[in-house]
């Protein structure tokens, strides 16, 4: 029971961090079909901007300033570069974002150096919030949960209750029709790209001091975010939310469940020794492969439902 509760809490926090990162990408990917490899670079930039800004005016203003900077950068990129590449197809856009990721990484290395920077959790949040069965639940993790929940709520309100939100939702599934109805679809695209980049930047502000802020953080976070987005399904923010939580919980619970295929076979009466073929594979305990389960789940879901869990469109 103790393990269950603690793991539930841990899985929730991790899932919400994934959601913060993946939500922006879902919007961009669903709307524009762009596999944005520079999304994790925006996450990195958000963390670095917050680091520099918080040294001058503090963490709380940085919480607002850094995402705005990332959003602005995203808007500029979309308006002056990505738009031109759009007509050349999806692969062209993908390669464009790859080139962008290289450039951002090198720029970060030149501007802030090659080592991790001392971007720390603000002192007021650097304490235990409450105790769960003897371990502390750190206040900053509660803060992360709060910010991501508020963010989800705001996006939900924006998409369902405002006019621009309804246009965005429509453009998520039927961009051509929306254009034919007279809406300024290019401007919508810019807003979405900027918004997605701002969300990634916010995730960086929150996550950068909790995790490590260094030039390789984009490369390490990249793949899992794509997995979450596609697993949740294109065109569905709710799908992204559910997918993030599922991934977070699965990875967390996999760590605490110490079972392997060999145990399963033992229940069926088959004993696995070191001479059994594939013994190395059968005796692997679940915690060892926990972080690989998202990829396995992705493959399984895509085989059955090519649009993802709750997807509403193909690209």
């Amino acid at each position: 029971m103790e393990v269950l509760l603690v793991s539930l809490l841990n899985g929730l926090v991790y899932g919400m961090l994934l959601f913060m990162l993946a939500s922006g990408l879902t919007l961009i990917f669903s709307m524009m079909g762009v596999l944005n490899f520079a999304h994790a670079s925006m996450y990195m930039l958000g963390a670095y901007f917050a680091f520099s800004v918080s040294r001058v005016i503090g963490f709380w203003p940085a919480l607002v300033v850094a995402p705005v900077l990332c959003g602005g950068l995203g808007a500029l990129i979309e308006m002056y570069a990505l738009r031109r590449v759009h007509k050349n197809g999806h692969i062209a856009e993908l390669l464009f974002t790859v080139g962008l990721a290289f450039i951002i990484e090198k720029s970060v290395q030149m501007a802030w150096g090659l080592l991790p920077v001392a971007y720390r959790v603000p002192a007021v949040l650097d304490r235990p919030l409450f105790h769960v069965y003897g371990s502390n639940f750190h206040a900053y993790r509660g803060f992360m949960l709060l910010v991501s929940a508020v963010m989800f709520g705001l996006i939900w309100l924006l998409l369902t209750r405002t006019r621009i939100g309804l246009v965005i939702q429509a453009a998520l599934t039927h961009p051509d029709m929306v254009g034919a109805l007279g809406h300024n679809v290019p401007r919508v695209f810019t807003i979405v790209f900027a918004g997605g980049s701002a969300l990634a930047g916010l995730a960086g502000v929150i996550g950068g001091n909790y995790l490590v802020t260094e030039p390789s953080m984009a490369v390490t976070m990249g793949p899992i975010v794509f997995v979450v987005v596609v697993f949740g399904g294109l065109g569905s923010l709710a799908g992204c939310f559910i997918a993030s939580l599922i991934m977070g919980l699965v990875q967390t619970f996999a760590v605490v469940l110490d079972v392997s295929f060999a145990d399963l076979l033992a229940h069926l009466g088959l004993k696995v020794t070191s001479a059994t073929p594939l013994a190395e594979f059968l005796t692997i305990p679940l915690p060892r492969v926990g972080a690989l389960l998202p990829y396995l789940m992705l493959i399984l879901v895509l085989l059955l439902k090519p649009r993802g869990l709750m997807g509403t469109r193909d690209t």
Binding site: L114, G134, S135, N136, G248, R288, A291
Partner: protein
């Protein structure tokens, strides 16, 4: 037309490279090829090493270099790929460079050992020596050993033994957590072997392997560690796998000693921060307060000067030992010819900058040097990365105590 373009460009490039690498065997400097990641996400590895090498080579050249000639470092970015490291080897042998050095990545080191061996066997007039400055998998001087390979850092087995010797008497329950690949699996195996041998009273209450570089949230592991009642967490993790683990442990108030292998390297102190005071330990060849503790003021002054000019702390005492060995071996052999100075190098003993007698063991070309376990704490003279905390020696292990048995069966060339 593209084919013509290709033709012309290839010709020009081929000529350009020939001319740029063409200076055959200049009598001027003794070149040393160094290859490590210098670009891409892991560029800081090569970058910090380069800065320390420059400082050390200036010092050694100031003391006469070797054979009256100066050393010169030639760097080659291997982008963490074994194929690129082998390309570096080819570039080195093209220019008759006698030594190639590499510090990061046992997969690359394994490729280089094999590559150097085969090259030297097939090209006896154009040989090269491989100096391993940091790839620590135990197999490299055991099953995969080679006459042409000299390892200048303690291997995993030696580091594991140092850690076990540093465990205090009141610690009886330890938790092992390592990365799931050759290196991490070595650490796991060697730690268990040495615990059984030297501390049979200690019980291993948990033994985990995690996928390399993939885990972002360590709190479930921390839950398990706490539930096991372990008093010490022993890990060979490096990079984010190490810093995130320690951060997760400290955030949840885990009352445990952390024994690591890499917390003292670039970025570790910054990531752990002041919260790690008195908790985090690391196995290391050097930290800047050792000279203070042992009273070696000239060494202290030398590393202090490095600190003043760079934005990170000096940790690579082993690199200076490398060049002191090269200097001594080449002078003893009277030549920079790879076979001659390799024969002079094996079995050689010198005194390193901390005053210990360091030996290059002849049977397996593994260095026998002193090793320390330091604790991250307040109140030391030199702090790390401007955090206010620094390393203080908790345990010193002498070279003779690390003289472990080996299974090396190397073939020795005769001419």
């Amino acid at each position: 037309m593209v084919h013509w373009l290709k033709r012309i460009t290839s010709t020009l490039l081929a000529l350009a490279v020939t001319f740029s690498t063409g200076a055959v065997y200049a009598q001027g400097t003794i070149k040393v090829m160094y290859t490590d990641p210098l670009s891409g996400p892991f560029a800081q590895v090569g970058d910090q090493n380069l800065q320390q090498f420059k400082y050390i080579i200036d010092y050694i050249n100031g003391r006469g270099g070797a054979l009256g000639r100066k050393f010169e470092l030639v760097s080659f970015d291997n982008k963490s790929q074994p194929s690129e490291a082998l390309l570096a080897l080819k570039a080195a042998t093209d220019q008759n460079i006698p030594v190639i050095m590499q510090c990061s990545g046992s997969n690359i080191a394994a490729a280089l050992i094999e590559g150097v061996d085969k090259h030297n066997e097939r090209n006896p007039t154009n040989r090269i020596v491989y100096v391993n400055c940091g790839a620590v998998a135990t197999e490299l001087t055991n099953e995969k050993c080679s006459f042409w390979h000299f390892r200048m850092d303690a291997h995993v087995g030696m580091k594991a033994e140092t850690m076990v010797r540093a465990l205090p008497k009141d610690v009886t329950k330890v938790y092992l957590l390592n990365q799931d690949y050759l290196f991490g699996q070595s650490v796991q195996r060697d730690m268990k072997a040495f615990l059984t041998k030297l501390r049979p009273d200690v019980k291993v209450v948990g033994d985990e392997l995690i996928p390399l570089g993939k885990v972002k949230d360590f709190s479930p592991y921390v839950t398990k560690i706490k539930a096991s009642g372990a008093q010490a967490l022993i890990t060979g993790n490096w990079g984010p796998d190490m810093t995130l683990l320690i951060k997760a442990g400290m955030d949840s108030g885990l009352d445990i000693r952390y024994y690591t292998m890499y917390a003292h390297l670039g970025g570790g102190a910054t990531a752990i921060g002041p919260a790690g005071n008195g908790k985090v330990r690391s196995v290391m060849a050097f930290h800047e307060n050792i000279a203070v503790e042992t009273g070696k003021t000239d060494t202290e002054g030398w590393t202090r000067q490095f600190r003043a000019q760079h934005d990170f702390d000096f940790y690579a005492a082993g690199f200076r030992t490398i060049f002191e060995f090269l200097q001594a071996a080449m002078n003893k052999a009277g030549s920079a010819d790879p076979l001659k100075f390799a024969q002079a190098l094996e079995g050689l003993t010198i005194t390193d900058m901390l005053g210990y007698q360091v030996t290059m063991r002849k049977p397996d070309h593994q260095i026998l040097s002193e090793y320390f376990v330091g604790v991250f704490t307040k109140g030391v003279k030199y702090d790390s990365e401007k955090t206010g905390l620094g390393w203080k020696t908790e345990t010193t292990v002498l070279p003779k105590d690390l003289d472990q048995p080996n299974t090396c069966n190397m073939k020795r060339p005769t001419s």
